[in-house]
């Protein structure tokens, strides 16, 4: 797979973002990662507006979404993605500290593709992020660009 499609990481906490990048670096997929620091930025990226107005067209291969973010929170972003015909095919992985049943239920109800609780232990965290990155960014076959089965 030589796709240049990026992995979108929505993480408001810069330390978490750095740790996640450190984890992905071990598998040399860190350069594919685009980090957004809040929900609004994620939406800007997806809709190619604001600071991302001039970015290369195309959806990310996967979105890692934190639940609690400033401005627009993870669930709202998820809702927007899954309600948009063009964005709907993007796999969305919730990557969060929350183990609350309510968050799990709501995320899946809104169409999340996976839900991962960030482990406290760094090695577990690194393993989780690495595996996620490799699976969604490399192994998983992304949906064809601009495809809509209803068209």
């Amino acid at each position: 797979m030589t796709t240049v499609k990026p992995i979108l990481l929505a993480e408001d906490n810069p330390r978490d973002a750095e740790l996640a990048l450190a984890a992905m670096e071990e598998h040399h997929i860190a350069d594919k990662v685009v980090v957004c620091h809040d929900g609004a930025e994620v939406l800007d990226y997806l809709y190619c507006r604001g600071v991302f107005a001039s970015r290369q067209q195309g959806n990310p291969v996967v979105v890692f979404l934190d639940l609690k973010m400033p401005k627009v929170d993870g669930l709202e972003v998820l809702k927007t993605i899954k309600n948009d015909v063009n964005l709907k095919p993007i796999p969305v992985v919730m990557l969060t500290s929350s183990r609350e049943e309510r968050d799990l239920a709501q995320s899946y109800a809104l169409g999340a593709n996976a839900y991962v609780v960030k482990p406290v232990e760094f090695h577990q965290f690194i393993t989780a992020v690495k595996e996620l990155g490799v699976f969604w960014g490399v192994i998983n076959e992304p949906p064809p660009e601009g495809s809509d089965p209803n068209e």
Partner: protein
């Protein structure tokens, strides 16, 4: 820190404790003691007492009114008799008068047709007198008078009969003196006098009865009035008491509701709090562990053993705190989460738990003794947590043994609940600390002996309590421990 689930006997349980009269030093005010005594009654007793009083009053008033009315009825019957007697006396007097004047005319003229009245009187008199006796059942005096009257009438009639016989024999001249004065002049006078006496005695009796009737009527009216008033007062008081009690109950209900709302609000707050803990408190821990790991990776080569050990300790502490937060969150969730009630197959549940714990079982020599377990009624996820905690505990405290023995079984003491136990041959515990076992953050071992957060058994107790069961434990130092819990049996087994 005290356990959350343990009771606190020192804290006052009842906020609404009523003042006990015996313990109050000042005697209650004299005027209010009856009311105070009364207010100590339950509402049922008060209402019963009120209605009892009303009922007793109604009974007393009814009895007296009944007796008064009976007197009135009797008097009116007696009055009827008295009036009949008076009429009869008039009739007798009239008849006797008519007979006597007819008799005298006969004596003068000898014309037998003048004797019609006399003959009627002779014929009717026994009947009249019987009737008269029947009407004088009241009073000895009147009866005596009637007897005398009977004798006099008999004598009068006898004298008149003699006069008729003489008239027939001797003619007018023979009875001339009788014709002038009357054949039975003396008797007739006596009869009139007696009849007047009878008459006036009866009039007096009537008058007396009228007075009595009027008195008892007034009495009845007054009593009925008093009764009505009394009943009104009592009904009013009963109403007041019920109203008072109902108002009190409404107030208590309103208070309960507001407390319930407060409780709900604080529960929501707690939920928000634990949510925040779960999300926000774990992040810095992750960072501590993460950066410590990154540091040891980047600078590991240049660090000496001591520095590496420090870094390891930072990591370990962060991990431990992460575990603590996770356990606390589970504990909190078990307390507020809605509970399911289904039939749980404990045999199956234990099998899945052992499967989940397979990583912990690796490299251990364990001899399992599994007795059949019953089906119970409860929440499968919560009960799974109970077995995870108890079996993990058993595994943890037997880690130092060359051969671990774990026994799981159940005892059915009755048809309602089962007692399940998990026994191990581990380090055990001193029975003097048995009360601390199930408390939150209560630990009987140092962390360097056995790791743990002190929440596992507290969680077991919380879950079992929510199922309506009990938890207890038996053990001895170095001789293993047995943890018991009771659970309601599934309905089909009862």
């Amino acid at each position: 820190m005290e356990s959350v689930t343990q009771e606190h006997p020192s804290t006052p349980v009842s906020i609404h404790s009523e003042p006990v009269p015996d313990s109050s030093p000042a005697p209650p005010p004299k005027t209010g003691w009856l009311m105070e005594w009364f207010t100590h009654w339950s509402i049922e007793r008060r209402v019963l007492a009120g209605f009892g009083l009303v009922f007793a009053c109604i009974v007393v008033i009814s009895v007296i009114s009944y007796r008064n009315t009976a007197v009135l009825i009797e008097n009116s019957l007696l009055d009827t008799k008295s009036h009949e007697l008076l009429q009869l006396l008039d009739s007798i007097g009239e008849a006797l008068g008519a007979a006597e004047s007819g008799h005298r005319r006969y004596l003068v003229t000898g014309d037998e047709s003048y004797l019609t009245s006399y003959r009627t009187v002779v014929e009717r008199m026994p009947e009249y007198l019987r009737y008269l006796r029947g009407l004088t059942n009241e009073g000895v005096e009147q009866r005596d008078r009637v007897e005398t009257l009977e004798r006099l009438i008999a004598r009068q009639l006898g004298a008149e009969a003699d006069a008729i016989t003489q008239r027939e024999k001797l003619g007018y001249e023979g009875v001339r003196h009788l014709a002038l004065s009357g054949a039975a002049k003396n008797e007739l006078e006596g009869i009139h006098g007696l009849m007047t006496e009878l008459d006036s005695a009866e009039q007096r009796a009537i008058h007396a009865r009228v007075t009595q009737s009027a008195g008892s009527t007034n009495n009845t009216v007054a009593l009925l009035g008093l009764g009505a008033l009394l009943q009104l007062v009592l009904l009013g008081s009963v109403y007041f008491l019920i109203h008072h009690d109902v108002t009190e109950r409404r107030r208590v209900a309103a208070e309960l509701q507001s407390r319930g709302e407060l409780l709900e609000a604080s529960n929501k707050e707690l939920e928000a709090f634990s949510y925040s803990v779960s999300h926000d408190l774990r992040a810095p821990l992750r960072h501590i562990d993460g950066y410590a790991a990154l540091l040891s990776k980047v600078a590991g080569e240049t660090l000496n053993d001591k520095a590496r050990r420090y870094l390891q300790t930072i990591s370990d502490s962060a991990k431990q705190m992460g575990q603590l937060i996770d356990d606390l969150l589970v504990f909190s969730r078990m307390g507020r989460q809605d509970m399911l009630r289904t039939t749980v197959n404990l045999d199956q549940l234990v099998k899945t738990v052992l499967h989940d714990l397979r990583l912990d079982l690796q490299g251990r020599t364990i001899s399992w003794t599994m007795h059949p377990l019953p089906n119970v009624s409860g929440d499968p996820a919560m009960l799974r947590q109970v077995f995870i905690n108890l079996i993990s505990n058993a595994l943890k405290f037997t880690a130092t043994r060359p051969e671990t023995k774990i026994e799981i079984g159940a005892v059915m003491r009755n048809s309602v609940e089962a007692e399940v136990f998990v026994r191990d041959n581990g380090v055990g515990f001193d029975m003097q600390y048995v009360d601390k076992l199930f408390g939150v953050f209560q630990r009987l071992h140092r962390n360097d002996e056995f790791e743990g957060t002190g929440i596992g058994l507290a969680n077991v107790r919380r879950i079992i309590h929510r199922h309506g069961g009990r938890t207890w434990a038996k053990g001895a130092l170095d001789q293993g421990a047995t943890f018991y819990f009771s659970l309601p049996l599934a309905r089909s087994l009862r």
